[in-house]
Structures are given as structure tokens and as C-alpha cells.
């Protein structure tokens, strides 16, 4: 019952809806008592030959009018109670979504996409069940159950009632027990199914590898093992599912047996008449649903409660990236200065960055090179305010970047990662993602700067081409250029290319870099790369090693130093890693 208390806020909010629904529901329970009574009454009249046309007409009018009224009440409660539950679902879904929108990197490291999806789908359904089915069964079982039993006792006989309803609690017990078993069996089935699904997914993505090695038969064998495991899980589900009806039949029959023997005895001893017995049997069948539902109610509450806690758990997470209390109102532009003493990722003992001191003059380009894991991306993450927990300060225009409102600050940055996420919509919508009101001309101009326009024009649908999920229909180089165009469209004060030219061929890379040089004369650019050709024209190049700056200077300075940079540069020039020609992955 805890869950109903937790959902009080919602029921209060939708008070009018629920009150109307529940009143209609209770009216239904009361009105339901009338037909069996009238049927029993008529039977008695028939048996006693005392039925007159007048009496019959009144009875029929009563039953008919009552049926029509019940229709109205049934419609009202169904629409209000089921409908009310959808408000809860919508509300929680929106809250979850907005929460996802605002959470930080740490949150997304803690929860995997699948977990979050489950919260927004299965858990919401379980909670909706509480507000719909849960409320319905709670109120209906109590009213219908009580009203029916009282009616039986008063209209027929209280002793018979007492005896006949003895088996009914068994129904509730059965419904709880089977509900549990079903839930477990179904969970097993879901797990088997998702394992199978993972298996198929992997084989399909690796189809070329499987064909290359000629391992089709072995792959099918492995698939069959998963498929068979699923079959075993199905068996269990089918078995438990097939128990519901027979067990219900067996429990109800106990009540009928009691009614036949004791009810029959009462009739024979003229304690009740035959019409009352007919009414009694009709009432008895009305008790099946409420008792069964009480059992279900326990399961709904249990699952709903767990789901609600899980959802709240997610919503209780707070982002570590906070808006400054008194944000500075300066424009986010100008010289950029890193003065970082030390940075560690949360829950990680290793030092990711240490003693970084770099200044980029407005309009200049900073090149960052170094091995994988040397700290290039970590530095950019701090600049992007994905983490705020570092010792030291990064200033823009002389102000700590954490003091800017995020809206001003982040909007002035265009960040292009190596694998920039693309949305499964058209190329045009992807380019103008950050500026949905951009005109076609502006979109085309941005694509031109990213050396992507010609590619697009060669596609049958041009800018309307759908990029597919994760941009699957584009090549790696096209995806990178699309992401660059997307960042260029907002003409950012700071442009960050984080290894985002890796899949672009050398000629195109040169073209893009030339455009950047020309168009971004007053704006800052940061380029992180593996190929020295990407950074060699930068005003300042820093070489990272184990989180520290090992070398710095211009291309010429660094060559003169004859350190790591010079070594890699020579290697690349001498062809061990010559620039990629003509090929896009």
C-alpha cells in the first residue's frame, strides 16, 4: 500500500478525474446487486404462479433501465480510471526525459542505455498499472466484495453465505502465488530472448567475418543452442500460464459444492426458497473477480512499488555541473587560458591531467597531439564542462568558465568528436541541429566549408537524404564532415576538432583546414589529432604524455627539439604512416 501513499501527489492532482471514476465504479457495484435479486424474485413468482402482467412489466422495466444505467456508469469509470493512469505515465515519462537531458557524464557512466530505457518503458508501465488496474482492483474488490457478501447474507441467508465464501480466499492466494511464478518465468523468458537477440545481432554485424572463415554451420549451431534455451523458458511460461483457469475452476467448485449441499438442505427445510437459491448462485459468480483481483493487486503493488523506486532513484541523481550562482554576463569569447594543477576522473585513482598551463590567443589555433590516453580528450572534456572537479582554473576572457551561464558558454563552442553522433533524420536536419531555424543557404554554406556539399549533391535526395540510425548510410568520412558542418553552422567562438578528420582523406583535410584558416580569422580553433598534418600549421602545438605537456611550440620549434613530435613526424613522412589517400573507411 506504500505505493499509493507515494503516488498521493498524483491522485491529488487528478482528484476530479479519480473521484468521478471511483464514484461511477461504486455505483456499478451497487447496481450490479439488483439483477440477481430481480431474477430470483421472478423465479419465485413463476414457481408460485403469482406473476401478473403488471408485475412482469415492472420487473422488465427495472432490469432494462438498470442495464442501460450500468452501461453509462461502466463507460464512465473505465474512461476516467484508465485515462487517469495515462496522465501519470505521460508525466513521469516527460520528467525522466528532461532529467536525461540534464544529467552529466558521470550519470551516463553509471547507467547504461538499456537501464535507462527500461526505466522509461517497462517501469513506467508497471507504475501506470498501479494508477489504473491497481486503483480499480483496490476499490472494486472492496466495494463489490463487501456489497455482494452483505447482499447475499441479507437477501438469501447469512449461514449459507458464510459457508459458501470459505474457499474464496484461496483464489486470492492462488492469484498471488501464480503471479509470482509467472513473473519469474516471464523474466527468464525475457532474458533468454535478449540473449538470443544479442547473438543474432552479433552474427549479423559480423556476417562478413563468418563467411570469410566459412563458419556458417558452427554459427547456426550456436544459434540453435540459444533458440533451444528460449524454448525451455517458453515451456515454463506456458505451464504456469495454463494453471490459472483450472485452479480457478477447482476453487470455485468448492463454493458450488457447499451451495448445492447446504443451500439444497436449506431449500428442502424451507429456510430459503428456490428463487433465493438462484439469486445466490448468481451472486456467487460475482465474487470470483474481486477475490482474484485482490491477489493481482498484491502483485501490481509490489511491482509498481519497485518500479517507482527505480524511477525515483534515477530522478534523484543530481548533475555535478552546476550553474554559477552569480553568473558573469560577459560574452564568451577572447583569450582562453588553461591553468590546471591536477585532474582525476571521479572514482579513478589515476591522474588524468597535471600542470597544464596553456594560453590560446583569440583567433589562434592550438594543436594537440600525443598517444591514445595521453590526456588530449581529458583536457577537451574539461573545456566542455563535462567535469568541473579539477584543481586549477580555465578562463575565457579572463573569467573562470564555470562562472559563465552554460547557455552562453556552451553555445559559443562547436565541438566535433571523432565519432560525432548523428540523429536518424535528414542530412539537412542534422546540419542545422544546433540552429533549427537556419535557412537552406546557411546550411549549404556550412556544408561547403566542411567540403561536404558536393557529396550531398551527388546523393539522389540531396540534403533530404536520410542518414539512417547513427548515420549508417554515410561513410566514416562523410559522417565526420557532416559533424563538422553542424558545428560550423553556429559559427562558434571556439571550434574544437577532436580527431575529427581521421577518416577524411588528405586532400579533403587540407581543403577543410584552409577554409578554417580563412573563415575563422578572429575565432579560436583547437585541433587534436594523430596526424601531424592536421596540426602543423597551428600557432601553438602541445604534445601530451601521461597527462602532462611534454613538448610545446610551433611546428618548426618542435622539429628543432627533435623529441617525440619530430620522431613521429619523420615516421609519418617516411611512410610508415603516410597519410591516407583516396580511401574513406
Amino acid at each position: 500500500m506504500d505505493i499509493f501513499r507515494k503516488l498521493t501527489w498524483f491522485f491529488k492532482e487528478q482528484k476530479a478525474m479519480y473521484i468521478r471514476g471511483l464514484l461511477a465504479l461504486m455505483m456499478t457495484a451497487f447496481l450490479n446487486m439488483i439483477p440477481p435479486f430481480l431474477i430470483g424474485y421472478t423465479v419465485n413468482q413463476i414457481v408460485a404462479h403469482s406473476l401478473t402482467p403488471m408485475k412482469l412489466a415492472l420487473i422488465l422495466l427495472g432490469v432494462g433501465a438498470e442495464a442501460v444505467t450500468l452501461y453509462a456508469f461502466r463507460y464512465i469509470w473505465a474512461v476516467h480510471i484508465w485515462g487517469g493512469a495515462t496522465y501519470l505515465e505521460r508525466k513521469l515519462r516527460q520528467r525522466l526525459y528532461m532529467h536525461f537531458m540534464h544529467m552529466d557524464t558521470k550519470f551516463y557512466q553509471t547507467y547504461r542505455t538499456g537501464d535507462l530505457m527500461t526505466r522509461a518503458t517497462n517501469d513506467l508501465i508497471q507504475i501506470r498499472q498501479v494508477a489504473g488496474m491497481g486503483i480499480l482492483t483496490l476499490v472494486d474488490s472492496l466495494t463489490t466484495g463487501t456489497v455482494t457478501i452483505i447482499t447475499m447474507a441479507f437477501v438469501v441467508d447469512w449461514r449459507l453465505t458464510l459457508v459458501a465464501i470459505l474457499p474464496f480466499p484461496l483464489l486470492a492466494v492462488m492469484s498471488i502465488k501464480l503471479g509470482h511464478r509467472m513473473h519469474n518465468a516471464f523474466g527468464d523468458q525475457q532474458r533468454a530472448f535478449s540473449k538470443l537477440s544479442d547473438k543474432v545481432q552479433e552474427s549479423l554485424s559480423g556476417m562478413k567475418a563468418i563467411k570469410t572463415l566459412g563458419q556458417e554451420a558452427q554459427d547456426i549451431e550456436d544459434f540453435n543452442a540459444h533458440n533451444k534455451a528460449l524454448m525451455q523458458a517458453y515451456k515454463k511460461v506456458e505451464f504456469v500460464g495454463a494453471l490459472y483457469d483450472p485452479l480457478t475452476t477447482m476453487i470455485i467448485v468448492l463454493a458450488y459444492v457447499a451451495t448445492i449441499i447446504y443451500g439444497g438442505w436449506l431449500v428442502l427445510h424451507q429456510q430459503i426458497n428456490i428463487g433465493q437459491l438462484v439469486s445466490f448462485i448468481a451472486y456467487l459468480s460475482m465474487l470470483i473477480w474481486p477475490m482474484f483481483a485482490i491477489g493481482q493487486l498484491f502483485n501490481i503493488i509490489e511491482r509498481g512499488n519497485a518500479s517507482y523506486d527505480r524511477v525515483m532513484n534515477i530522478l534523484d541523481n543530481e548533475t555535478h555541473i552546476k550553474e554559477a550562482e552569480n553568473p558573469v554576463m560577459l560574452p564568451a569569447q577572447g583569450d582562453l587560458h588553461f591553468a590546471i594543477k591536477q585532474f582525476q576522473y571521479p572514482d579513478d585513482a589515476e591522474i588524468a591531467l597535471q600542470d597544464i598551463d596553456v594560453t590560446i590567443k583569440a583567433g589562434h589555433t592550438l594543436g594537440i597531439v600525443g598517444q591514445v590516453g595521453a590526456g588530449k580528450t581529458s583536457l577537451l572534456k574539461l573545456l566542455l564542462r563535462q567535469y568541473d572537479n579539477y584543481e586549477g582554473v580555465i578562463t575565457l576572457n579572463g573569467e573562470d568558465i564555470r562562472q559563465f551561464p552554460q547557455d552562453t558558454y556552451l553555445r559559443s563552442i562547436g565541438y566535433v568528436p571523432q565519432e560525432g553522433f548523428l540523429f536518424s533524420t535528414s542530412i539537412k536536419e542534422n546540419i542545422r541541429f544546433a540552429r533549427p531555424d537556419a535557412s537552406d543557404e546557411q546550411v549549404h554554406a556550412a556544408a561547403q566549408k566542411a567540403a561536404f556539399h558536393d557529396d550531398i549533391m551527388n546523393m539522389p535526395d540531396g540534403y533530404e537524404t536520410e542518414v539512417g540510425e547513427h548515420g549508417i548510410s554515410l561513410s566514416g568520412g562523410q559522417r565526420q564532415r557532416l559533424a563538422i558542418a553542424r558545428a560550423l553552422l553556429i559559427n562558434p567562438e571556439i571550434l574544437i576538432l577532436d580527431d575529427s578528420l581521421s577518416a577524411v582523406d588528405a586532400r579533403t583535410e587540407a581543403a577543410i583546414l584552409a577554409v578554417l584558416k580563412r573563415d575563422r580569422a578572429n575565432k579560436t580553433t583547437i585541433i587534436s589529432a594523430h596526424r601531424m598534418s592536421s596540426v602543423m600549421n597551428a600557432e601553438n602545438i602541445i604534445v601530451f604524455d601521461h597527462g602532462q605537456i611534454k613538448e610545446r611550440g610551433t611546428h618548426a620549434d618542435l622539429l628543432a627539439k627533435n623529441g617525440w613530435y619530430a620522431m613521429i613526424y619523420q615516421q609519418q613522412q617516411h611512410g610508415m604512416d603516410a597519410t591516407i589517400q583516396g580511401g574513406e573507411a
Binding site: P35, I46, H49, L51, V63, G64, E66, A67, L70, R74, Y75, G83, R93, Y97, M98, M101, T113, L116, M117, A120, F193, D198, M207, K208, K211, L213, G214, Q215, Q218, I220, K235, E238, D245, P246, L247, I252, V253, I260, I261, W265, V278, Q371, V372, L410, Y415, P417, A434, E466, E469, R507, H530, M532, S533, Y569, G575, M576, A578, T579, G582, G583
Partner: protein, 593 residues
């Protein structure tokens, strides 16, 4: 790639639905006895449902009317009632369990056949269809199909019950039963109207729900981009629109159901009681009517209307299942099979000589991608293919690996036509190193050995040592047993490439086919990889696609491809001297660094 059409957008005619069922029936056939037994059980349960009220009717009419009825009679009736109910329970269980099992077996069987069929399809199929959509055919669609199969049982049960209870009413009192037919037109009207409205409303609702979930998933995956460009509020507003639309669709569905399902059936039931009471009552004024008869008749009426809402609801879901069926059938009917070998393939590849003789190859039968390609690679030689994207480099490999069939000319290996070798021999002796190194869930050693259990642990180790992958493997906490998660996410691109090499080399192929990696690998790993490649090529015939000309300077023969034709051929030195396209490409690469 066209955006996949939503399952809810497709509309099927009745004829299509029949075709789907007929197409899929063979997969359910091996389990027919489950279904037949279940249907018999359904019949028994329906009969018992008619019998039970009849027992009470007898009891009331014949015995309760007489005060001298003995107590034993009550016990006997109770015992009979109990016994018959027990029988009903047993058959209820059989009906549901057997039908459920049959459906599950049929589903699992269909899925297996589908998967087997998919493996017979050629690479073309996988190049043209996104893995995601094939995946949902194999998993979700087969499931949806047989969920509908199960719904079929509910409809069957309902129909049996309907017929049985009407029959019982008819036998009890034909006149009243006939009078009740007055509901028939209304009932049909409700069913028809509900089907029409619900298929639309329900389809719209499901469509919105899948949009919602797709939006959530995509937003989570793209959260960095959304946050970096400060689009949270806009995305939130977009989402709210779909969220509201979904809720509205859901409420429409609730209203439709409340209007036409349970409440309406209850109304019919209530009005039916009016007719029954009216007619019995009228009749009783000049003749005797027994109490038990009235009771039994009203019970039958209940049995008649009770399954109606359920049947109507299930019928509405039928559409989904048939759409899923159409999609499954489409794959099963797909005949883009993998290229076939001759009827009695034979022979063994021992030397590794490769000869292309005037090979012409086209993907669509209209535009040739390779035109009259000819070259010879003697055992142990390295032949390099260079050229821009679309020049035909990958197509040459696709033809050589038998991923696609070529149309004209011949490919000879050891002077025998490639189509005359068993495909297994080709797979065994031609080692293709793929550009993207795909990792499978498992551990390091299973990724080298793959599914081939004949390969010993020693061989796995030897292969890893040979390509120098052993160096990083030995540093892993569990070495060769180190788990590999999806897509090998814990390994760097370079490490994956080395494992990929080991996977190829462990089968000891005679011929090496290299689709050169362009992956973004840091420079130091790059050196290791180049060294490993050089070692692998030793003593093997090698066909290499090269993006970086520097890596193939020592090839015995370099073919420069342009639009499917060889425009220049020769050694590195010869080609430079030629001062043509190759020289141009070489100079451009040199200048970049």
C-alpha cells in the same frame, strides 16, 4: 537506405493474410498433434460448460421441488458437480498448455529455418539490408507472429463457447433462443465498427509509442551532442509533443474499448435477461415453468456474451501478426543466394597461384564494376590493387572470395576454375583480413579460434605470437581467457587488428587477401601492425588493397584501377617511371607529410 517503414503503416488485405498463414503453416505442421489435441480439449471444455448449468437445472427442477428429497441426493449432486468440474479443469489445463507448447515449438522452428535461410544468402543481401532490420525479422517478428498464433486459440475458445451456449439455449427453449437473435445485427455492427476504429486507433497508438521509445534511445545515445549544443529544451519540447500525442491516442483507444467492449456486452446481456424473463414470465401465466430452467438459460446467456469482448480485442491484434508474417516470408522467399559452386566441386589449393582472366563483374547486371580484369599472381607473390573509392578494388576481392558471382571470364586458382573448388576449401585456403576487425562476445582465445574447435590452444598461442599479439595478450589479467565484450570495446583499434590477424593466420591460409585498414591507430601500434603484416605475407600469395602506397612499394605487381579497368600496371619503380596516375597519387601523398 530507405527509412524502414513502420509495421503499423502497412495495410494487409484479407487475401494477404490468408497467404501469410498458408506460407507459415508448414513450420507449424510438425507440431500439429499439439494443436489437434488442444482443439479437442477446447471442445470438451465447451461441452462441460453446457453440462454444468444443466446439472443444476436437473437438481432444482426434479429434486428441490419435493420436500421429501433425501440428503444423499444432495451429496450425489455435489459429487457429480465436483467430478465434472474436475474434468473441466483437467481439459482446461490441457487445452492451454498443449496449444501454448505447439505455438512455442512452431515459433522456435520458424526462427531456426529463417536463420538457416539467412546463412544461404549472398553478401549482397547483407550489404543491402541493415543488420538491425534483419535482426528484428529473426527475433521480434517471429515472436509477434506466434503471439498471434496464440491469440488464435482464444478466438477459437470463444467461438466454441459461443456456439455451444447458443446450442444449449436452443435446446432449452427454442423460441427464446430465436428471439435472442435480435441482438445479432447489433452485435455484428459493434464487431464491425470496433474492428474498423480500433485497427486505426490502435495502429496510431503503437506507432506513437515506438516513436517515443526511439526518441528516448536516440537522445540518450546522442546526449553529448544535445548538451554540447544546448538543445535540451528544444529536444524536451519535441518529446513532449510526441508524448502528448501518444497519450491522446491511448485515451482514444480507451474510449473506443469502453464504448464497444465490456460495457456494451454487459448491456446486451442485461437486455437479454429482459427478453428471457419476459418470455418465461409470460409463458408461466398459462403453463408451468421450472425454476432451474430459468437459471440454466440465464447462465447460458452469460456464457454467450462473456467471451465476446475478448474475441473482439484479439481480432484487432491480428493485423500485427500478419504484417510480421509478411516480413518473415519475404526473407524466406528471397533467393539472392550466395554464389553457387559447380555440382561436384573437388580439388585442393596447394600452390596459391591466382589468375584473373577477363573478369567482368557487375552488382546490378547493368553497370560493370570490373571490366575485363586480367592478372596473374604466382605462388608467393604480392599483387597490390590501388585506386580511388569506386575504382573496383573491393569488388575484385568480393569476386575472389566468392561473396558475389562475377558474370564473365574466369578466376583460376592453381589453374583450376574457382567455381570448381568446394566452398569450404576456398574459405580454408584464402585468408581475408577485413578492414574493420569485428570482435565477437567471448574471450581472446575464442576470438582467434572462432567456432573452429579443431584448433588447439597451442595453435592459438602460436598464431598470436606470430603476429606479435601475444605481447599485449600476456599483459591482460586473464591472458587468453580475457573476456571480450560486445564489439571488443575494451580493446584498442590496433589490438583488435592484431587479434584479427591472428584469427586469419591460425588457419594457415595459402593465399592472403588484405583489405588494408584505415582505422585510426596510433603510430606505435601501427609499426607493430606493419611488421606483423610483412611476416604474414612471407611465403604466401597476397592480394592487397592499398590506401597507402608506401606499404606496397615492394609488391611484385601493382595494378592501378580506375572505373573497373586497369589503367597502369607494373612494379613501383616502373610505375613511377611511367609518370602517370600512380606517380600523381604518390606525389600527392608525399606532399601531405
Amino acid at each position: 537506405m530507405a527509412k524502414e517503414q513502420s509495421i503499423w503503416a502497412e495495410k494487409l488485405t484479407f487475401k494477404d493474410q490468408v497467404k501469410v498463414i498458408r506460407g507459415l503453416l508448414p513450420f507449424a505442421k510438425p507440431y500439429k498433434w499439439y494443436f489437434f489435441s488442444a482443439i479437442v480439449a477446447i471442445g470438451v471444455v465447451s461441452a462441460i460448460n453446457v453440462l454444468l448449468p444443466r446439472i443444476l437445472q436437473e437438481f432444482m427442477n426434479k429434486y428441490l421441488g419435493h420436500l421429501d428429497t433425501k440428503f444423499q441426493v444432495l451429496i450425489i449432486f455435489a459429487a457429480v458437480y465436483f467430478g465434472v468440474s474436475l474434468l473441466k479443469a483437467v481439459f482446461q489445463f490441457l487445452q492451454e498448455y498443449l496449444y501454448g507448447l505447439g505455438g512455442a515449438y512452431a515459433e522456435v522452428n520458424t526462427r531456426e529455418q529463417l536463420y538457416r535461410h539467412i546463412h544461404t544468402l549472398g553478401m549482397r543481401y547483407f550489404d543491402q539490408n541493415p543488420a538491425g532490420s534483419i535482426l528484428s525479422r529473426v527475433t521480434n517478428d517471429t515472436q509477434a507472429l506466434f503471439e498471434v498464433w496464440r491469440l488464435f486459440m482464444l478466438v477459437l475458445m470463444g467461438t466454441f463457447g459461443l456456439v455451444a451456449s447458443y446450442y444449449a439455449m436452443f435446446v432449452t427453449n427454442a423460441k427464446i433462443a430465436l428471439a435472442l437473435l435480435i441482438f445479432l445485427p447489433f452485435l455484428f455492427g459493434a464487431v464491425f465498427y470496433y474492428q474498423r476504429v480500433s485497427s486505426k486507433v490502435y495502429g496510431g497508438m503503437r506507432e506513437k509509442l515506438s516513436q517515443l521509445n526511439a526518441k528516448i534511445a536516440e537522445s540518450i545515445n546522442g546526449i553529448n551532442v544535445i548538451q554540447q549544443f544546448r538543445q535540451e529544451m528544444r529536444m524536451g519540447k519535441d518529446f513532449a509533443v510526441t508524448n502528448d500525442e501518444y497519450q491522446m491516442a491511448r485515451i482514444r483507444m480507451i474510449k473506443t474499448e469502453s464504448l464497444l467492449l465490456n460495457p456494451l456486452m454487459n448491456l446486451f446481456n442485461g437486455l437479454g435477461i429482459v427478453i428471457i424473463l419476459g418470455m418465461f414470465g409470460w409463458h408461466s401465466m398459462d403453463a408451468a415453468v421450472a425454476a432451474g430452467t430459468v437459471y440454466a438459460f440465464i447462465s447460458y446467456l452469460n456464457n454467450f456474451f462473456a467471451p465476446m469482448s475478448e474475441i473482439m480485442q484479439e481480432l484487432a491484434l491480428f493485423q500485427d501478426g500478419s504484417v510480421a508474417g509478411v516480413r518473415v516470408l519475404r526473407i524466406l522467399e528471397n533467393q539472392e543466394l550466395a554464389p553457387a559452386q559447380v555440382a561436384h566441386p573437388h580439388g585442393e589449393i596447394t600452390q596459391g597461384k591466382i589468375e584473373f582472366k577477363n573478369v567482368t563483374f557487375s552488382y546490378d547486371g547493368v553497370h560493370p564494376i570490373l571490366k575485363n580484369l586480367s592478372f596473374t599472381a604466382l605462388p608467393g607473390q604480392t599483387i597490390a590493387l590501388v585506386g580511388h573509392t569506386g575504382s573496383g578494388k573491393s569488388s575484385t576481392i568480393n569476386a575472389l572470395m566468392r561473396f558475389y558471382d562475377f558474370q564473365e571470364g574466369q578466376i583460376l586458382i592453381d589453374d583450376q576454375d574457382i567455381r570448381e573448388y568446394p566452398i569450404a576449401e576456398i574459405r580454408k585456403k584464402l585468408g581475408l583480413v577485413l578492414q574493420e576487425s569485428f570482435m565477437f562476445y567471448g574471450d581472446v582465445s575464442s576470438n582467434i579460434r572462432m567456432f573452429n574447435q579443431d584448433i588447439t590452444d597451442e595453435q592459438v598461442k602460436a598464431a598470436a605470437e606470430f603476429v606479435q599479439a601475444s605481447r599485449f595478450i600476456e599483459e591482460l589479467p586473464k591472458k587468453y581467457a580475457e573476456p571480450v565484450i560486445e564489439h571488443g570495446a575494451t580493446f584498442s583499434a590496433g589490438e583488435k587488428q592484431l587479434l584479427n590477424f591472428a584469427r586469419t593466420i591460425v588457419t594457415n591460409p595459402k593465399i592472403l587477401v588484405l583489405d588494408e585498414a584505415t582505422a585510426n591507430i596510433d603510430t606505435e601500434t601501427e609499426v607493430t601492425i606493419q611488421k606483423a603484416l610483412a611476416k604474414m605475407r612471407n611465403n604466401r600469395t597476397t592480394i592487397a588493397i592499398a590506401h597507402r602506397l608506401s606499404t606496397i612499394e615492394d609488391a611484385n605487381l601493382i595494378l592501378v584501377l580506375d572505373q573497373g579497368e586497369v589503367i597502369e600496371r607494373g612494379t613501383h619503380a616502373e610505375l613511377l617511371a611511367l609518370n602517370g596516375k600512380y606517380k600523381e597519387m604518390y606525389d600527392l601523398q608525399g606532399k601531405e607529410v
